[in-house]
Amino acid sequence: MSSPGISSAAFPAGLYIATVVLYSCLIVPTFYIWRRHGRAGFLAYNFVFSFCAIRIAGGALSMVARHNPKIETSATVVNSLAISPLLLAELGVLHEARNACLLRLEPRVERTLVVGFHSIITTAIILVVIGIVNVVKGLSTTQDSGLIKAGLAMLVVSYLILLAWTTISLRDPARLRNDTFIDGTVVSYVSASLISPLIVDSFYVLLQLPYHLSA
């Protein structure tokens, strides 16, 4: 999520134009990579693709909302969804890296863990979106919205679990050092390096909430 509840007019149009241009450039290679990684990379690159699409739509809606306040709510909700697909994509990349690097992996256990984790994150996203819609409609305020607090708490816990899981996965990969292992290791490091920017972004979301959600 990013800047939930902040009016589109709060930031200059240039920021939204830059967002649309940047993600329009990134969505093309993302689609190519998604196709190249096939079914195994579906969980990762499908969500990166969704993230780019949401950012383009959010930027475009925010620009239009400056002249047409009727779609302000839509722009806010679309902008609020953004970082959650990145968290799901991070989980997908970790799953792909674990499949490539770890030999003694129980496919059924791994699949159950990933599906369970996806369900938790999706539930958190739904809670936050419902909470934001309620705040925008004036049914509650940020301070009173238990839905937003519960959703954000679930997302923060998800980040911490993902951080621990990535660290454990990087520790002792047990596979012969062939090309698949080397590529899997690259994917592991991508997964690990993604944690910091995602944490900074989620921190920004937490920072915004007390002051601006009731806008």
Binding site: S2, S3, I33, R55, A82, N178, D183, V186, V190, L198
Partner: protein, 67 residues
């Protein structure tokens, strides 16, 4: 060093900073762009991952020619 930490803590807890364009760019726009670019770079670098994996499996299951 403590002064730097103090300034950062003050900025991060200040309502004026939280709603500023600087915070939006530093804490939201750049991390998101960085994450997506990392995904794209990592994905592009490992784009042949499964082609190699498939070749390995194929070689493993192909009977060696009898001499």
């Amino acid at each position: 060093m403590r002064l730097v930490y103090g300034i950062i803590a003050f900025l991060l807890t200040s309502p004026a900073f939280a709603s500023s364009l600087t915070a939006k760019i530093l804490l939201s726009f750049i991390p998101e762009a960085l994450s997506t670019s990392l995904f794209v770079l990592g994905g592009y670098k490992t784009r042949s991952m499964y082609a190699i994996c498939y070749q390995e499996t194929l070689l493993k299951h192909t009977p060696s020619p009898s001499m």
